[in-house]
Symmetry: D2
Subunit: 350 residues, 4 copies
């Protein structure tokens, strides 16, 4: 085996959970060299000052975002809070650098919708139509040819993968979709707050932003594209008292009578040869523990045959398949690597 | 204040979580004297051997179930595993002792349905029609006159209270009901098993018995009675990595166009003067932390107005309002006490 | 039973965990009426806005500390952060109001030592000698006659109770004491911060302020008084990934050869008739689960006979026996109530 | 880079946590081919039936231990419960296969001591002196030449590494050693039991086997060898409400006056060039979160200068450096690989 060519990349926003997980995963990716890491207003501190697990593994220095370079890199990962990537992406693109935006800034095509759900105007609406939505299981061929990827949100990844076969194959009543999703606390980021203070949330469970979460239009946009008609659905997120993982339970009235086996066969066909989709058919339950630490999305397909309703449960690690891992999967496609490169490892045992 | 008369009672099945919580709560109930506590095959051990929190508080001795008395008590709480209460209830009733069965043995009226969902035949189907379903918010007047109470299941308590105003007032499309429920591990009882082993479940979250949980027909039976017509719904339970608490998210398509305010007013009217129902209108979230340790059921009513779908979130402590506390609430009604007696305390702070 | 006289009291700093737990406990104390609750800069908000468990239980309004009254109350609980009570206590005392300071402001007798460990000067050093240290198991008779109580710290309560029988009876080599203590996160207060952010601490365990915690001189001061000579010891606190509870493991070389039975007898004699001390002799382990939610301090006494070293494990609920409950115990003594009044309940089952 | 030679190995006891973690780690070790995996009485089931994280990663079949082969492998890992490896090791050794025993069967040199602490007789006491204790930081040169490794216990790894520099350099009073250790639940294995049932332990913390844990003589034996004289110490284990990780706090009276800098320099010198030891000098705390998922042992050295007592805190992942990772480290030494091969990854971010 000859040494693989390493693509020089930069990570902007490396001190958050997604940026940190991305950095950690890229350290063992044989086709990447992380030549620059940047964060807001942090001058000349080593990455291990922010992530003590990295001590002795990497002491690479963080540079301020304003001092980042546009030369010597072929790709940049934007792992910044919402509102920052829209001002950064253009300059990288103009320099011929491929951009993978992990934030929510380029996921919605409609600037007015962005403003309505994110509560801020979009400063570069002209670029909303340029970004390719980076969900490889649905848009692999477009991703391969892209220069600008908008990496999906964590809830949308779990939600869309759960129902895409139903929607694409017109198996469900599109007005009946209900998505009840539950996420670990890391999805809310690294900034402390009362809702994430251990005594408040450690033994708690909360439904929040009920029918009001900004990932709702993202899910709807992608599913509408798949269906070829406009879809609206109910989406309710919940906060689990754990660090990582999303479990999504989706409900859809079937548009025709199907057996459980028919239903599962539709999923098998749809996800045939997908390296990161695992259909869980072995028992009447689905656990997120099986995917945490990995890029897998496990999906269990069930039928409430009394009501002819499909119930589909999907699980992902929100920081991996829901963010950093999927960004690497997109990177691999962009640069012609094996799609699973650097993402082969199984999830944690416990 | 004169000293209150104390009703002598017995608890059968005191070493489980529900029995233990019931005992703990009754210790500070001014209208009860627990004169006998019993468990399977435990001879002459003090209760504190099973619940170390009770050391120095009570050293009452547990007797074997076979040696329990039928004299000197006016009520018995059956806190036994499914399948045991059906053989115990009759003898108590025959001795003129009021029975509160906290198990699932007398909740379904149809013996065939019992067998189908519980996986065992019912040994006394003739008594299924005698037990009054002990959900005071719906059946208070019948409970007051009863001698035999079937205490609701934990999931059904949270589920029925969440949607009863919609069903009773014919506000919802009855075929559209989806109930997505999440419970702490104590709901599975005190017996260790792989699913409840901390390394397996402490950072995990699982959907289980998908569209197959034995609480489904119980919910449907009560709601069908309320609606005056047969209801079937989808019910999916999930296992939270915490000890106590249930949060239920219910979805129902509205049968007419209602504003959020209309919807909330319907709930205010329905639960007016209910001492243990708290409507949560102050923000766009509902947390189970607010009820753990108490007999409250908090309910948040929301509207996905784009889809004209009600989303109702309810939270209870599964061991209190979902079991032992509700049993005491029923006891208070049976014996003419203030309904809240012994249940006045707020939930735990954290 | 005639209605008990209710002492009117005020709580200053009611929105923190200790203040909130104190308020919750006092709601069911038959000898108290909480006539005023105050917090910093919070005007006219109900207590339930800060503690959702209290909704429907109390909607008492919080007043700003600057507007608190000095008339109509007989006692005040100061549940403020360190540095605030020293400026509040005097005025209450001058108005003949009994003061129970739950903060650390009046625990050390030496103002220089206070400044060295708390990092701030003491503004009223003249009052340091007036406050009686409110650990009833050691200083009950002084507390009964006092007008000004300094409520012990959480770590000191667990630590002192663990070793007091050894120190008082001169059974240990006083230079050998090691106290290794572990606390839940609520001990750090309600203010969010990176160390208490669930993803950072939920699966973590940390030793902190190693040989540098401000509770060290408090423990030493009390034990030195007991011994009649100066004691210095090593104290290391650790942060447990749970909300409540402290477990302290204390090590002391014995000054003479004692059997385990001798050692345990010394503890039985020392704590004879103490209502809140439970000696755990039934097995070779001690768990904090047995005391959480109660005012008990459980103590297990062990002997490493190969080394003639006592190992004593104590557990408390840091918010109850380590703060609010002990404050009520002191209050009961100050006002001639039964010492256990309002504190009789067993800890939580699970 | 040419393809590395892969050593064929077998894992016996693959369905426990240590066996499973070992298997997971070896899947990405470039110098190993796991040709056989075995467990008790499990015939022809795939490994993913026991570890759902492995689905789609490996479906290797588990064979019954009785049917394991003695040909075609160069090394065997015995990851069996205590009492099983002593009957398996000999046959492998007789066939010229290198044995790495991860169980406790060959750690103590004295069969009587084994029987006293493990509660069972040793069936092959003649082999106790043959096994080399596999703690590379102390015994690397012996390990390289060995054919039979006894892998250290999890508590002993953390404990010995914490104090070895003090003991080896005669810096401490050897009679003063106190080791207070705290472990996650996975250290107790995969078998469910009341102590590990989530409602019992999820918010609990327990001191257990106080001065009675079977790892005590293992720690003493190794430290006595280092010191050149017999050492006895107090060891108290505690059960943390998390899955993984051990934090050990060790206390030792210094035999001479040392500054903190002197003390830390002694550790730096002792662990110079150790790839898996990280000295944590940057702040006054040590967290186990920094090592979970990795083979690192982080050590923080502190001085209670008022008492001239060293306080050393060490943290490891009990399943990695405390078991499977260290076994791989030993394997690498046995077969001439780079010591860190397959173990380079940083611990988990959160």
């Amino acid at each position: 085996m000859s040494e693989m060519k390493r693509i020089p990349v930069s990570i902007i926003g490396v001190t958050g959970y997604t940026g940190g997980e991305l950095y950690r995963l890229l350290l063992s990716h044989p086709g990447v060299e992380v030549v620059e890491i940047a964060a807001k207003s942090k001058v000349a501190e080593p990455i291990s000052a922010f992530f003590p697990n990295l001590k002795g593994v990497s002491e690479q220095t963080i540079v301020p975002i304003e001092e980042t370079s546009r030369s010597g890199i072929e790709a940049v990962f934007l792992s910044t809070p919402h509102g920052a990537a829209m001002d950064l992406a253009g300059d990288y693109l103009d320099h011929g650098i491929k951009v993978i935006d992990i934030s929510g800034d380029h996921r919605l095509r409609d600037a007015a919708e962005f403003q309505a759900w994110y509560g801020m105007p979009h400063t570069h609406p002209e670029r909303l139509s340029q970004a390719v939505y980076g969900l490889p299981e649905l848009f692999r061929s477009r991703i391969r040819k892209a220069g600008f990827i908008s990496n999906p949100g964590c809830y949308p990844t779990a939600s869309i993968l759960a129902v895409a076969p139903l929607v694409k194959n017109a198996l469900a009543d599109l007005g009946s979709l209900v998505i009840d999703s539950k996420s670990g606390v890391s999805g809310a980021g690294r900034k402390p707050g009362p809702l994430y203070h251990l005594p408040e949330c450690g033994q708690n469970f909360t439904a929040y932003k009920i029918a009001a979460h900004q990932h709702t239009p993202e899910i709807e946009q992608v599913l509408s594209d798949l269906a070829g008609k406009k879809i609206q659905l109910s989406f309710v997120p919940h906060l689990l008292p754990i660090s990582r993982g999303i479990l999504t339970t989706a409900y859809a009235d079937l548009s025709e009578n199907l057996s459980l086996e028919d239903l599962r066969q539709a999923y098998r066909d749809f996800y045939r040869n997908e390296p990161f989709i695992r259909l869980r058919e072995e028992m009447n339950r689905v656990s997120l523990g099986a995917v945490v630490g990995s890029n897998f999305c496990d999906i269990g397909v069930f039928l409430d045959d009394r009501l002819n309703r499909a119930i589909v449960v999907s699980v992902i690690d929100n920081l991996v398949k829901g963010a950093a891992g999927q960004a690497i999967q997109n990177f691999n496609l962009l640069f012609g690597f094996e799609e699973t490169l650097g993402l082969e490892r199984a999830g944690w045992l416990i």
